[in-house]
Each structure stands twice: as C-alpha cells, then as structure tokens.
C-alpha cells in the first residue's frame, strides 16, 4: 500500500516534469516578446534589452529551463511579467476562491448525482428515471454561460432570492468581514463563528457552484444509474432482499458500494476539469478566483503565470486521481493495487 503510493507519487513527479517541460517549450516558441511586456508601456529598445537580460531570456533555452526548474523546485514560481508580483502570492490570493467554488460544485455533484442515480437505477423506466434522463442530457449540453444567465435572471432578477454575483455582498464585507485563515470563506467564517458572514458567502456561492456543477451532476447521475442497473441484477441483491433487509439498505448500502466506483472516477476527472472550467463561470459571476488572473495572463503572454497555473492544475489532477484509486481499493477488496 505505502509502496504503491510512493510509486504513484514518483510517477506523478515524472508527469509534472514532462508537463513543465512541455509548457515551458510552448511558451518559448510562440511568437511574442515577454521582455517588451515586462519593460512596461512604450519601452525603448534599450529597456527591452535590459529586461531581456534581467529575465534571462538572452540565455540558451537549456539554461533558461534549468533555471526555471531550479526556481520551481525551491518553491519560487517566479514573478508575473505583468503585475510584477511574486506568482506564489498571487496564487495564494486567487486559488482558494477557485478551489472553494470547485469543491462546492463537486460536493453538489456527489450529493445530488449519486442519490438521484441510485433512485433512477432502482426504478429503471419509471418517471423519475425518465425525468432525470432528460435533465441530465440537458445538463451536459447546456452551455455554462447560458445557464448562468438564466439562473441569474430567475433567482436574482425575478425572485430576488440569491445575489447576482461576486463572493460577498458589500454590506457583509464591511459589517461582518471574514477573517482570512484558509482563504475558503465558508471555512473561515465557520471557524471564527461569523455566521452572518457565512450565510452571506453561502448565498453567493450557490449560483456559480450550481452552474459549474451541472455537468458533473449529470455525468455522475448517469454513471451511477448505469452501474446500479447492472448491480441490481446481481444475485447478492436478490439474496439481500431474501434476507429481509429494507430496500433503503439494499440500494444505498449493498448495491451502492458496488456501483459507486465509476461515479467516483467521473468526479475525480470532473474536479480537474472544473478547475479550468470554472474560469468562464468565474468571469460571469465576478468570482475573484484564478479565472480573471489566468485570462489576463494569457492575453498578455505572461508566461510564468501560465506555466505556474498549468503546473498547479496538473498537481491537483494527479493527486485526485491517486485519491480516487485509493478510495476504489478501499471500497472493493478485490481491487489489487499494483
């Protein structure tokens, strides 16, 4: 087990190395001049040359790459060409907001997609199955921006139930500011007992999280349903019913434990997918996460930022896949970790 985890982590290191090399290469072959950007507005040729030297862009590629890797390994992600801030501190500002949004949306997918999938599979062909089939097809095909607008129109515009955008309301930010501890508003507010601030943050996260979650909810639901249909045909389910166990136990305990693995795989992939998928949603809901930071960096060819964010996303991707594999092995004793 420990050996398996170590081997997977070593493999993860290899993946990270390749991804870093690839993004680095791509960032150096695209025709743009980071030095000109770094030198500020309307730079002279001398200023640009100076900037090039400071950034080490006059060195051979191999040297540049070695320096870049050396910095990263020592925990230094470099500085943004545009903002001149240390990227690490920029990420510390923006990443928690994005992560919080993604985590809430994955939690929604887990809490809605899996039970709904279980019930749909249990009454295959029934009205609930039909209804969730239609809804989940809609869920995977509706563009996020359109869904976001509809949700805003209905829940903010028509019913005044939920805020339009941003992470907190101005009043709450002034009257009940959330003290930053982890950077996750919901966690920090709860830790400090700031319940007014917590409710405000919770209301703000509902619409963007739901928008982001529609795809994973739909996918999880369908995967769970398909797996349930298969598992419910197994002999041990007939046996469990013959033992007189209540239907709730048969479905959510005896069957679900055998049917949940495909859904977990989908959720794991969705997590990584949502990290980048959230950027659009963040822009629509003025969510102060990585979205705007990354969009700006791309528009400005701010390579250190692009490379750093790519690496962060890769790290999450690798770790989550490892976690999903470990959970799978825990759920099914027949799975051998190799």
């Amino acid at each position: 087990m420990t050996l398996y985890i170590l081997r997977r982590l070593a493999l993860a290191g290899l993946v990270l190395f390749s991804v870093s090399a690839l993004t680095f290469l791509i960032s150096r072959v695209v025709p743009s001049d980071p030095a000109a950007l770094f030198a500020g507005q309307r730079p002279t040729a001398e200023q640009i040359a100076l900037a090039r030297e400071r950034l080490g862009l006059d060195q051979p590629l191999v040297v540049q790459y070695a320096r870049f890797m050396g910095d990263i390994l020592s925990g230094d992600l470099g500085i943004s060409y545009k903002t001149k801030h240390a990227i690490a501190s920029d990420l510390a500002t923006f990443l928690p907001a994005t992560l919080e949004l993604v985590l809430v949306s994955i939690a929604l997918a887990l809490l809605i997609g899996i039970p709904a999938g279980v019930l749909a599979g249990a009454q295959r062909g029934g009205w609930f199955d039909q209804a969730t089939r239609v809804l989940s097809i809609a869920g995977v095909s509706i563009p996020a921006f359109w869904l976001a607008l509809i949700l805003q129109l209905v829940f903010f515009g028509a019913w005044h139930l939920l805020p339009l955008s941003s992470r907190t309301s101005n009043e709450a930010a002034i009257m009940y500011p959330i003290q930053a501890i982890t950077g996750f508003h919901l966690v920090d507010a709860a830790l400090t007992g700031n319940w007014t601030g917590w409710v405000d943050a919770a209301l703000h996260i509902v619409l963007p999280a739901f928008t982001l979650a529609t795809y994973p909810i739909s996918l999880t639901l369908r995967m769970t349903r398909a797996a349930m249909v298969e598992v419910l045909g197994e002999k041990y389910i007939v046996a469990a019913r013959a033992q007189g166990l209540p239907e709730r136990d048969v479905l959510f305990r005896y069957a679900l434990k055998n049917a949940i693995v495909p859904a977990l795989n989908v959720l794991g992939l969705s997590f990584a997918f949502s990290l980048t998928g959230s950027f659009l949603v963040e822009v629509i809901f003025s969510w102060p996460g990585l979205g705007k930071y990354v969009t700006d960096s791309i528009l400005n060819a701010d390579f250190p930022v692009i490379v750093s964010v790519t690496l962060i996303v890769t790290v999450f991707y690798v770790l989550i896949n490892l976690a999903v594999d470990l959970i799978q092995a825990r759920l099914d004793p027949r799975v051998v970790l190799r």
Partner: protein, 323 residues
C-alpha cells in the same frame, strides 16, 4: 393443516413473444421439520417457485394461486414482505460466490442482518455471528468474520451463506441447488450440514435440485417437476423403490450406476415443451415411451393411486377409474 401449503400455484411471464407459463398449477404441502426435495430439469420452474414463496419473482412475472400459506400466514397478494423475508423464510442459492456481497466482510454482513432482525448490536451481535459460523461448521470464525467472500473456498462460502440465511432466525429454509456449483465431496458435506441443522434447530427445508443423487442422500419426501407441473410426489424411499410416472422412471434409469458412465437428467430423448404454447394434453406426451389414447387431449391430474404417492399420468387415471 401443513406448515407450507401451496395450491394451484401459477407463475407466468408476459414477454414480447407472448405469455409464458413457467409454473402451471402445482400443489405442495410441507410438514414442519421435513426436508422436501423439488427435482426437475433446468428451466422447469424450480427457482421461480421458490422465489414466489418470498415475493421475489422478478417483473414481469405474475404469481397466482388458490392458496399459499406458511405456518398459517397468508403469502398471497402480500405487499409487505417484511414479516416473511428473513424473519420466517431464508434462502440460499446455487452460486454462493455470487450470492455474497463482494464488498463487505462476512462479519459485516452477518452483523447487519442480525442487527436488523434481532436488534442486537456490537459484541452481542458479533457473538451471535460467531456462534452461527461454528454451527455451520466454520469453527475458525475469527478469520471468517474478517474475511471477504472471495477469500474463502466454495464450500466455505456456501457454509457462510447458510449462516447468513439463518442469522435472521427463520425456521424455513429454501435451498436452491445449494451444491450444484460445488465438487462432490464438498457437496456431501453441505448436504450433511443441512440435515444436521434440521435436526438441531427443527428447520423445515425445501431443497431444490436437478440431481436425484442429492435427493437420495438428503430428502424425506420429493416432488418431481416437469415443465412447470408436478408429475409425481412421494417419500424419497418410495420414489426410488417404485417410481410411477414414466418421466421419473426415465430419470431413474438414466442415473449413473457403478460401472456405467454417468449421464444427467436430460438423457431422456426429446425436448421439454416451451411454456409458450399451452399444451392441451400431458406435457410429457412428446417424450413419453408409453404415450397412449387420452394423453394428447386431456391433461392428467395428480392422483394418489397409493396413499401418499401422487402421480399425474393417464396410466393411473384409467386404473383409478376402473377400481
């Protein structure tokens, strides 16, 4: 009144090709404490009959009967089976590996059933689980409780399945081909275990099998099923000593004997009629070596030319009418 009473049990499946009668009117009466064998070829309706006793016939199956009672309680048209499944009737299956949940340890499965039916938790429940395992011949219970089903041999899995079936305190056990997937020595051990449990706990057992050898080793009485109808019923001793129905006679003639090469039930020539087309006469007519006049037009009913020995065949209808 018998412990289990079944009268005119019919089970039909509505398929796109038409209505398929899997069981076409069978009568059974089991006495408390006996082991009753239900024998027949694959597909003759043994499993659906047993599932009907627990309300577990899968859709689109429809179950009707003139009477269906267990220990005085009515099983007919029941919506709420909580009082029956596990509590009064337990079931074990042909393939123990597939009938045990692969993702829970046997301890977890036993404790869960015990908790649900007897309300026992924690150490009390575990103690009962251990006692059950000892009862079914698994004295190494500490290891078994922690094991997942795939870590046990087939014989141990079936023993564990029996423990799980008995965990809820049922007095009636349906064993659907419990030894078919096991090799011969293990098969004999499991059958001996079932007999022992009957003696020790006063269980009533409906033992379903396609193997007359199993019947001979274990059963007090036997019913022979053919194409969803009961063609002969007698004590096991009587059935082997003086089989009456041509089908049973054929089965016994096909039994492997020392010196001859063994064959299975299907050794009788011809095919079982598909339940799709309602047969007017005797369902065995197409394969019967003694088929005669009335066989193809009138369906023989189960009569008892000799007390306690029922047979559904026109050879005996005539005899009875004459006497």
């Amino acid at each position: 009144m018998s412990y289990l009473e079944v009268q005119d049990l019919r089970i039909a499946f509505q398929t796109h090709a038409g209505r398929f009668g899997a069981v076409n009117g069978i009568d059974l009466a089991l006495e408390r404490g006996e082991i009753f064998g239900l024998v027949g070829e694959s597909g003759c309706g043994k499993t659906v009959t047993s599932l009907a006793l627990m309300g577990l016939v899968p859709p689109p199956g429809e179950v009707t009967a003139a009477r269906l009672t267990l220990d005085g309680i009515d099983l007919l048209g029941r919506r709420d089976w909580r009082d029956v499944r596990g509590r009064r009737v337990a079931m074990i299956f042909q393939d123990p590996a597939a009938s045990l949940n692969p993702t829970f340890t046997l301890g977890e499965q036993l404790v869960h059933v015990i908790g649900h039916h007897l309300g026992q938790k924690g150490a009390t429940a575990r103690a009962r689980a251990a006692a059950l395992l000892v009862d079914v011949g698994l004295p190494d219970f500490e290891r078994i409780l922690r094991a997942y089903p795939h870590q046990l041999s087939g014989g141990m899995q079936q023993r564990a399945m029996i423990a799980l079936a008995l965990a809820s305190g049922a007095n009636f056990l349906i064993a659907d081909e419990p030894t078919t997937a096991l090799d011969v020595t293990i098969q004999a051990q499991i059958l001996r275990l079932l007999k022992g449990l009957r003696d020790k706990h006063g269980l009533t057992i409906l033992l379903i099998t396609h193997d007359l050898g199993v019947v001979a080793q274990t059963c007090d009485r036997v019913g022979v099923l053919y194409a969803g109808t009961l063609v002969e019923t007698a004590t096991a001793v009587e059935l082997f000593r003086a089989p009456q129905h041509p089908y049973t006679q054929g089965l016994l003639a096909a039994l492997p004997r020392p010196g001859s090469r063994g064959t299975d039930l299907a050794a009788i020539e011809g095919q079982v009629p598909s339940g799709m087309t309602a047969v007017a006469g005797c369902p065995f007519a197409a394969r019967c070596p003694q088929v005669f006049g009335p066989c193809r037009s009138a369906r023989p009913i189960l009569l008892e030319p000799v007390a306690g020995h029922g047979v559904a065949c026109h050879l005996y209808t005539a005899q009875e009418a004459a006497s």
